[in-house]
Symmetry: C2
Subunit: 157 residues, 2 copies
């Protein structure tokens, strides 16, 4: 199925080596699942269920440990959509800052918003509060386009 994960795997291998870590089949398999499912913001358990197809002997604890490691290595990014579990997303080297997320409070779907657009606000805050910003988390809650339509039919005002 996925063929182009080769490149990502090489990158991970290099990063692991630097930290004195090993590239095991389990870690490779978890990374493959994340690459295969870009944009889906999978949770640890969801990744576990998928990775078991290719790697049936893998343990849940290993998936938890691998995801923590991948986060530390800067390969993935952990996100919290307030649904009680951690979710993960591939980090692309070219993106300087994180993108934002639109979380639908009706169907739970999560959409990504390109761009950052917070530079000006961040500059102001850094100056005013003497706070050195290293990252941010910006989520907008509301109704996605699909639920928006359905809602319109019902409310009809």
């Amino acid at each position: 199925m996925v063929v182009f994960s080769r490149e990502e795997t090489e990158k991970l291998k290099q990063r692991l080596k630097t930290g004195g870590y090993k590239l095991t089949p389990q870690r490779r398999a978890v990374l493959d699942v994340i690459i295969d499912n870009e944009g889906k913001h999978l949770s640890t358990e969801e990744i576990y269920d998928i990775v078991k197809k290719d790697c049936p002997e893998i343990g849940l604890a290993t998936v938890y440990r691998t995801l923590q490691l991948l986060e530390k290595m800067g390969v993935v990014c952990r996100m919290n959509f307030d649904d009680g579990c951690n979710r993960y997303e591939l980090i692309h080297d070219e993106e300087d800052h994180q993108h934002h997320h639109l979380v639908c409070i009706n169907c739970g779907n999560v959409e990504e918003v390109e761009g950052d657009l917070l530079e000006t606000l961040e500059e102001k805050i850094e100056e005013k509060y003497n706070f050195k910003i290293t990252n941010h988390s910006v989520k907008f809650f509301g109704f996605c386009s699909k639920c928006n339509e359905l809602n319109k039919d019902k409310v009809d005002d």
Copy 2:
């Protein structure tokens, strides 16, 4: 100690009545703790520990239930600073939108940023993605002014 919680309590009483809920001593005590500790973003367990002083017989489950209810009534706002528990904050009627938070990744301190400043961005997003925004969560992670100073001394570049 706190004298001016009277007003908040009256407000809560009215809201509870509307929903068919009762104003119990336990609920009153939990609200008092939140009012007494404005700006501290207490967690459920922290609130439980404090409220037990005034109300030793209260159960933890009641505190959880009360906080959920207060949230539903629009009296408090639940926040997630990614430290594994829910934290709560009083909502002031006059504020239209939520303020932002500066979360220090070194000492864990949470500071509030006044103002919203996201209106323009939100307008753009609503139009472009056909997404009806009802709320947002904006957190900036980094080093607070205190840790910034300490850091400067150490790194010194």
